[in-house]
Amino acid sequence: MMRFLLLFSRQGKLRLQKWFTPISEREKKKIIRDMTSMVLARQPRSCNFLHWKDLKIIYKRYASLYFCLAVDNQENELLALEVIHRYVELLDKYFGNVCELDIIFNFEKAYFILDEFLIGGEIQETSKQVVNRCIESSDMLQEDDSSEWYEVELFG
């Protein structure tokens, strides 16, 4: 099970945070501080896996953003790397050549995409197409902000 996912910039500014377990605000702040300092201190070509308390931390840097995922000890680290990569691909497909600014200005969309991909700390949908289609449909629904609802057929 994944415990949390953090995105932060090279300067340590938080861009996205998703917590899959209930943690107090103070704890969250502390964890964010710890993670940013640990990950930012790593050498460029070092191993992507860290140990922190009883969790494994998998991080990957994409351009100016660090994606930091914490998983339980029995999880497969290589798979976690794939999860991070898959999320980046989803963002890329949605925003078209995604960059950090996209995530800053459209953070709620980033969250929505994440919620289509992961739920409760587990992978929800393994197909990129399905996730993208869902997001598009949800967006259409949002635009069509009238009181009339209509069913959207989905292949699946």
Binding site: P22, G121, E122, E125, Q142
Partner: protein
């Protein structure tokens, strides 16, 4: 997709703020505006934007709890856009610890039954993210309904929501078990994935579920086969491997279910490979598969990618206990990883190397490990030392290694290393010469490492004569004069880097040298007397005592400062050492007891009936009557025992308590329980005539219970040809100060009867 302009403008404004102060100002203004707008009943579509702005501010770290009620209101709104942001806000601002979270339970319930699947999905997602136990209990039946009868989009979300519920409320696992089983028949990968995770959770919590789901193993194998063999499926493909996520999760589940056969060792990419390796190792698969798995891990080790090497070493660590030989084959690569730049890889390599050390490869491994020592974190040195202790091929190598560790990283070594090392040195008598030369040279070069300095001082003091002799087969001969040795010790004494304990070592060593050297005794006397007025109480006491040894008891100096006997390790704790140490501490210079076996005659008016003791002895008994210092050597040992803390003499050294007219009595104490002990009294006769009818009687203070066992005999032949032993069992439940009076009576060969009494006030070994 229409951009939410107000939100983006605010973000731009915040980002363009040049200082923290400016940023705070902007945010405060915005928050005030948002709060005002929240209070308004309805302001059209701007509500969602306001909440989004608040969420952004929250992410920057500013307080946003006033948005909680707004989230609740928005979730209840009929508009999808508002619901969406409302649920997002709920996930970010509310968690199960907040009271407001309960308020959304009803909304979630309604939304779960909504006709639109996206609304349902929002509700499911939120429940899975932050659902508390009560919420889960309330909504579990709903989730179960959704698991059975809905489209696959909802089913997969419901499955994962069920996983969350099971994690929160274990009992509800029963509710979902039947639905989970049927989900496995789905074709949709998302649903399959969710189903597998759900079943994994159920099996982890509940062993009966495990039994039931064991039957699904063939289905799983079927699915796996389908994934691996079937054609290219563009939807789920990741770089040529069809749906690795599903494959991995199925492997993980088979971990639990103990499949009897897995044909999943086809090379399908590293992540899947890794997971299958773990599966194979965890389940009781046949040995062929295990060998294959270890080989795959070996291949991983040679991979250039650091990540792969890291996980390979992690997995090898797990199996090194069972498949030791298989892992040994890769030892070379692992040791190379010690030199890697990356800290994580180095740590893993170190742990694995330490696990791999064995008697056969200890020399090479230690060489590598010692090279690594200089760059590695402190905890590792201690483990290196422990490892070397277990497998040392020869004493000399062992001593060399520990010295090396001490010189490179002595500051971080644990305290027990010093006494352990000293014990080791005393045990290897043939290497004394070599050891002391080496330590002396080490001392000359560097006196900053406390443990090294302490050991070196001790050795110089103890084996100073060997040092000064100069010749030694194992090292190059070097001429060390007495002055050199004393200079070295004085440097330690005066250095500001020495701790008080180290100075104590050095002082005692200097004192010991007074018997080992011939010419510079005066110099030693002057050093010792300087410290008689030292600020440190411990050093001052020692110096004063040593001074006394010089002045009043010079005849005993040689005996007191003799070489120490071989120290044996035993488990009865610190007590022995401390008591002997206490005994030494009690010595007042003016009232130094005689060492050895001399015992002053009891003044006549103090010959009491032994039985009087039982009535409670009020008479002041001279504290110094009975207990002589246990052994001449143990006086000096007593000092050191304080410093070394845990080191103790073997408690089985007999303590002489009485010596008169050739009849001597010694005592050995052994603690048998918290309040009980056994005292063994041994009598011997060194006169030229035999002694017969030798009996002992003993008395103890009131609350102590005494039980004398039968003596071994009552005849003491001349010249110590045989001894008589008698065991006495004592029980001291009230832990009073233990004293014992012993009356000795015997007949000489001429027929005259002798009687004598001796009182023992403190027992070594207590």
């Amino acid at each position: 997709m229409s951009p939410s302009i107000p939100l983006q403008e605010m973000i731009r404004a915040i980002r363009s703020a040049r200082t923290q102060c400016e940023e705070r100002g902007v945010i405060q203004r915005e928050c005030a505006a948002i709060r005002a707008q929240f209070r308004q009943v309805d302001n059209g579509g701007a509500r969602s934007h306001n909440l989004a702005k608040l969420l952004y501010v929250h992410m920057l770290g500013y307080p946003a709890h006033f948005g909680q009620m707004e989230c609740v209101r928005m979730i209840a709104s009929p508009r999808y856009s508002e619901k969406r942001v409302g649920y997002l806000g709920a996930m970010m601002l509310l968690d199960e610890k907040q009271d407001a979270s309960l308020l959304i339970t009803n909304s979630i319930k309604n939304d779960l039954a909504h006709s639109n699947q996206y609304v349902q999905s929002l509700a499911l997602c939120t429940l899975a993210c932050m659902g508390s136990a009560e919420m889960c209990r309330d909504l579990a039946p709903e989730i179960d309904r959704l698991l059975r009868a809905s489209n696959s989009y909802i089913k997969k979300k419901a499955a994962l929501c069920a996983v969350h519920i099971v994690r929160k409320v274990h009992d509800l696992g029963e509710l979902f078990a039947p639905a989970a089983r049927s989900l496995l028949a789905e074709k949709n990968h998302g649903v399959l994935h969710g189903a597998v995770v759900l079943i994994t959770q159920l099996c982890e919590r509940n062993p009966e579920a495990l039994e039931r789901f064991r039957k699904t193993v063939p289905d799983l194998v079927q699915i796996m086969k389908g994934l691996v063999i079937s054609g290219y499926s563009p939807e789920h493909d990741v770089a040529g491997i069809s749906d690795p996520f599903l494959q991995v999760i199925i492997c993980f589940m088979k971990d639990l279910l103990v499949a009897t056969n897995t044909d999943s060792t086809k090379t399908v990419g590293n992540a899947v490979l890794y997971e299958t390796v773990l599966t194979v190792l965890d389940i009781k698969s046949e040995s062929g598969l295990r060998v294959l798995a270890v080989n795959i891990l070996g291949r991983f080790l040679l991979n250039n990618d650091r990540n792969i090497r890291y996980i390979a070493m992690t997995s090898l660590q797990r199996i090194v206990g069972t498949d030791h030989n298989a892992v040994q084959r890769h030892r070379g690569t692992i040791v190379d990883c010690l030199k890697d730049q990356d800290a994580s890889v180095k740590r893993r390599a170190l742990e694995l190397s330490l696990a791999l050390v064995s008697a056969s490869n200890i020399r090479t491994m230690m060489k590598e490990l010692l090279l690594f020592l200089s760059s590695c974190p402190p905890g590792a040195q201690i483990r290196c030392v422990c490892v070397s202790v277990r497998y040392a091929p020869s004493q000399r190598w062992h001593i060399d290694t520990i010295l090396h560790v001490l010189t490179t990283a002595g500051g971080d070594v644990r305290d027990e290393t010093v006494p352990n090392l000293i014990q080791l040195i005393t045990n290897t008598s043939e290497l004394h010469c070599y050891t002391v030369h080496k330590l002396y040279r080490a001392l000359l070069t560097d006196i900053s490492q406390p443990s090294l300095v302490q050991v070196a001082c001790w050795c110089i003091g103890e084996y100073g004569d060997l040092l000064l002799k100069g010749e030694c087969q194992e090292t190059e001969p070097s001429q060390v004069t007495e002055d050199d040795a004393l200079d070295a010790l004085e440097t330690v004494l005066q250095s500001h880097m020495s701790s008080p304990a180290t100075r104590g070592f050095a002082l005692t060593a200097t004192m010991k040298l007074s018997t080992r050297i011939t010419e510079n005794v005066d110099r030693i006397r002057s050093i010792v007397s300087i410290y008689g007025s030292c600020m440190d109480v411990e050093l001052q006491q020692r110096a004063v005592e040593y001074n006394a040894l010089f002045r009043k008891y010079d005849h005993m100096r040689a005996a007191v400062l003799e070489r120490m006997p071989v120290i044996e390790k035993n488990s009865s704790g610190h007590t022995n050492g401390e008591t002997a140490g206490d005994a030494v501490k009690e010595i007042q210079p003016a009232a130094v007891k005689q060492t050895g076996p001399l015992l002053p005659q009891q003044p006549a008016n103090q010959v009491c009936d032994l039985l009087d003791l039982l009535g409670g002895s009020e008479e002041p008994l001279q504290p110094s009557t009975a207990l002589g210092l246990p052994n001449s050597t143990s006086t000096a040992g007593g000092d050191l025992l304080d410093l070394l803390g845990g080191l103790e003499l073997t408690p089985l050294a007999p303590v002489p308590v009485y010596e008169k007219d050739g009849v001597s009595l010694t005592l050995i104490c052994e603690k048998t329980s918290d309040s009980g002990m056994t005292v063994t009294l041994t009598a011997s006769n060194s006169t030229d005539s035999d002694i017969s009818v030798f009996t002992l009687q003993a008395a103890v203070p009131k609350s102590v219970q005494l039980h004398m066992k039968a003596p071994s005999g009552d005849f003491l032949p001349a010249r110590g040809a045989a001894k008589v032993t008698q065991m006495v069992a004592l029980n001291n439940p009230n832990k009073v100060n233990l004293k014992m009076r012993i009356r000795i009576s015997y007949n000489t060969s001429q027929g005259s009867a002798y009687q004598d009494t001796v009182q023992i006030d403190s027992f070594p070994g207590l």
